[in-house]
């Protein structure tokens, strides 16, 4: 959807500016279209390429504590887990061992604090928070925090930020262009002028 609107937008803008500009920008517009199309075709299928379902459940539970759902969606609803899974088989392949090691650390810490637990994701929310506080100085937690935030706010084409929940949370409307007034203070200022 976003890609369609982006493409249409490029055409609208181009035609609105007259033939000379269109001719000049034609290769650029075609390239932009291709870019959009590639992104559209690479939409994430909801299948894991790196994680087992059990591993995914653990990582997703931890991500969902880093950005929890409250009255607005969190990392789970943003499908951050699919972003991370895809990153680990594409541009962040070399982080695979860090995840495998980190998942073991998570398991060890979970059992240390809650010896009867079956999994991190099976803990109550306060228990999960306790485990994460116990590992929050580790490299794995830092990596998971990074990936969770990136997955939450990156373009939805990367698999996370589903339905743009990350952008909606912070008040960012995703448009190709904006017109003034942009914010509260310039709107007020322009009224006074």
């Amino acid at each position: 959807m976003e890609n369609d609107s982006r493409r249409q937008f490029l055409f609208r803008s181009a035609t609105g500016l007259g033939g000379a500009w269109l001719n000049m920008q034609w290769p650029a517009i075609l390239a932009a279209q291709n870019h959009a199309r590639e992104a559209a075709n690479s939409h994430t299928v909801l299948v894991f390429q790196f994680f087992s379902p059990e591993q995914a459940a653990e990582v997703e539970a931890a991500a969902a504590q880093i950005i929890p759902a409250d009255d607005t969606p969190g990392a789970r609803e943003a499908r951050v887990i699919y972003f991370i899974d895809r990153a680990l088989v594409t541009f962040d392949k070399d982080k695979q061992p860090a995840y495998l090691l980190g998942l073991r650390e998570l398991q060890v810490k979970t059992l240390e604090l809650f010896p009867l637990a079956k999994s991190f994701s099976g803990l109550t929310s306060p228990q999960q928070i306790e485990v994460l506080h116990a590992i929050e100085k580790t490299d794995f937690f830092e990596l998971l925090r990074l990936h969770t935030i990136v997955g939450f706010f990156a373009r939805p084409e990367y698999g996370g930020n589903h339905n743009q929940v990350g952008w909606k949370l912070i008040g960012l409307e995703d448009k190709m262009t904006y017109e003034p007034p942009f914010g509260y203070y310039d709107a007020e200022y322009n009224k006074r002028q």
């Binding site: 982006r6 803008s13 500016l17 000379a20 500009w21 000049m24 920008q25 290769p27 650029a28 517009i29 075609l30 390239a31 932009a32 291709n34 870019h35 504590q65 880093i66 950005i67 929890p68 409250d70 607005t72 969190g74 990153a87 541009f91 962040d92 070399d94 928070i129 994460l132 929050e136 925090r145 990074l146 969770t148 935030i149 990136v150 939450f152 706010f153 990156a154 373009r155 990367y158 990350g166 952008w167 949370l169 912070i170 008040g171 960012l172 448009k175 190709m176 262009t177 904006y178 017109e179 003034p180 942009f182 914010g183 509260y184 203070y185 310039d186 007020e188 200022y189 322009n190």
Partner: protein, 558 residues
């Protein structure tokens, strides 16, 4: 696009298709001279740029995620860093510069400040500062003024001449009216007014209206650190490089990684040795060479261009190539406001304050600067680097990001940095780049006055935020500079061949057909907004090169 044969000597080889190289190429080729521009980065077009923070993100944060399209890649091109000559430098990303056709002008914020008259004669006015190379320039503002005007009209600059009570004389207004004010600009203006200071419409290298067949800014917000999808940012890629190519006298050769400037038996340059995209060594023959590779790569290229006539590197008989490196100095403060500013929309800067531009002896140290207001973080960068005094994850983190993303404002001060002979670009004796060439080694310490000036401007930034009505504000730490995107001062210009590398027309004192035009020519830092002056210098230098070619002073096809 015209293609030139490497074995036939073109009139000029230009190294670097950036802010300076693009201008030089356009000026030389429109005069009818044949030019080959060697650019190490890719030739990207508007359609290659996307509204995609992750894709661009690598640029500032980590070369390991995403891909770095627009800037130097520290994995292939490491630099080393140390504070003093006594230390062994370690690999640490210190320098960032544009690396694509258009160079840094593609991704820059587009602040387009002229220097003031004082910047060229500050040593005479202020006096000497011991332990520094603080000096006057060999040219005055008046000599450069026509070229500032030329740059503004050729490239397309939006602004309002006369709006800044401190601005130097302009012989012509800006070609385009200012861009619409944003909340950041309104708040800066509000704070300044309360304090008796003067905010004015920022001069920006972004089109507020269609200009020379280019589209006006669509206020999309993907501006600083991004390439402009509309061609509305007045990069050399969008403005003068197409003009250069249209002449039929200019070839932009991208993916060309230069290794050495070649010299003949008479000690004149006769071509550029470079690696092509397949890392095969090539040599482009030329009658003259213009190095526009930036304040770090230019001295590196000269230093590694050794030969029997020039054992210490080219244009380096006095040993000054690479010395007096100037890195950027900045300071600032961040505040949060009650209502959304939505700074993620439109251009980065719409108002500037220059009330403290000039140094003032009453402050007890040398230094000055200008301030703008902005919030230039996209969501990922913002959330990752969120204030260290708040939780880094969990519901409190989420709430803080939610509340403040659209309500945050930085006041950013751009400041003087004193030139010191001990601050240098040199060749690292151990570390090599992916092509097997010595890495850039940076040796850098700030003069104590730089830090005092930063502390002074941090306080002014806090005052501004408070006066503008911020709910909360906090100053940025004052620290020595260890990372910089503005690279200046390593081949300084001057009249005396003993104390400078190039003359006032950017010609190397040692080599009559070698020119150096970029931030490396700077004698002093200005107020750390170098692009406008780099380009004015490039217009002026090119004008002189054309004259020299016409009179036969340098060989050419004329």
């Amino acid at each position: 696009m015209k293609k030139f044969d490497t074995n036939t000597a073109v009139d000029f080889v230009v190294v670097g298709a950036g802010a300076a190289g693009g201008v030089v190429a356009k000026e030389l080729s429109t005069a009818g001279l044949d030019v080959v521009v060697l650019e190490q980065g890719p030739y990207l077009l508007e359609g290659d740029f996307a509204h995609d923070e992750l894709e661009n993100w690598a640029f500032w944060n980590s070369p390991r995620i995403g891909r770095s399209m627009l800037a130097n890649n520290h994995e292939r091109q490491p630099n080393t860093f140390r504070k003093t000559n006594n230390e062994t430098a370690v690999v640490k990303p210190t320098i960032q510069y544009g690396q694509c056709v258009g160079g840094g002008s593609v991704h820059f914020t587009a602040n387009y400040w002229r220097f003031h008259e004082i910047d060229f004669v500050e040593r005479s006015r202020w006096g000497s500062i011991s332990g520094t190379g603080f000096d006057d320039w060999p040219i005055t503002y008046a000599e450069l003024e026509p070229y500032y005007t030329k740059a503004e009209w050729d490239l397309g600059i939006s602004g309002l001449a006369g709006a800044n009570p401190f601005e130097p004389p302009h012989s012509k207004p800006y070609p385009l009216p200012p861009l619409p004010v944003k909340s950041s600009g309104v708040l800066l203006e509000r704070g300044a007014k309360k304090l008796g200071w003067h905010a004015y419409s920022a001069p920006m290298a972004i089109l507020s209206q269609p200009y020379k067949g280019r589209a006006a800014c669509g206020h999309c917000g993907y501006c600083e650190c991004f390439g402009c999808e509309w061609g509305a940012k007045s990069s050399t890629l969008a403005s003068v490089i197409p003009m250069a190519e249209d002449t039929g006298h200019c070839e932009i050769r991208s993916g060309a990684y230069v290794r050495q400037i070649s010299v003949d038996r008479q000690g004149r340059v006769n071509g550029m040795v470079y690696f092509d995209g397949q890392r095969q060594e090539q040599m482009q023959r030329a009658k003259a060479v213009v190095v526009c590779a930036n304040g770090a790569e230019t001295p590196r290229l000269l230093l590694q261009s050794t030969s029997s006539q020039f054992p210490n590197g080219l244009a380096n008989s006095n040993g000054l190539v690479g010395k007096f490196l100037i890195l950027e100095c900045g300071a600032g403060a961040t505040g949060t406001f009650e209502h959304p500013l939505n700074e993620y929309k439109s251009v980065v800067v719409t108002r500037v304050v220059q009330d403290f531009y000039d140094a003032d002896p009453k402050r007890g140290f040398y230094g000055g600067g200008g301030m703008d207001a902005r919030f230039d973080d996209h969501p990922i960068a913002y959330a990752i680097s969120y204030r260290p005094d708040l939780p880094r994850w969990g519901s409190d983190f989420k709430r803080a990001v939610k509340e403040n993303y659209t309500r945050t404002l930085n006041v950013f001060a751009h400041l003087t940095s004193l030139p010191m002979e001990t601050n240098t670009v040199s060749l690292d004796p151990e570390v090599k780049d992916a092509w097997g060439q010595p890495a850039v080694r940076i040796t850098y310490r700030n003069h104590p006055d730089d830090l005092k000036n930063m502390a002074f401007f941090r306080e002014r930034a806090l005052e501004l935020l408070q006066a503008a009505g911020a709910k909360k504000q906090w100053g940025w730490p004052v620290e020595e500079v260890t990372m910089s995107v503005h690279l200046m001062g390593t081949c300084r210009m001057g009249n005396d061949p003993e104390t400078s590398v190039v003359n006032k027309y950017h010609r190397a004192h040692d080599v009559p057909n070698l020119f150096v035009v970029d931030g490396s020519s700077f004698v002093t830092s200005g107020r750390n907004q170098p692009t406008c002056t780099i380009q004015a210098l490039a217009y002026r230098a090119a004008d002189n090169m054309v004259q020299a070619a016409k009179t036969g002073e340098i060989p050419s096809s004329f």
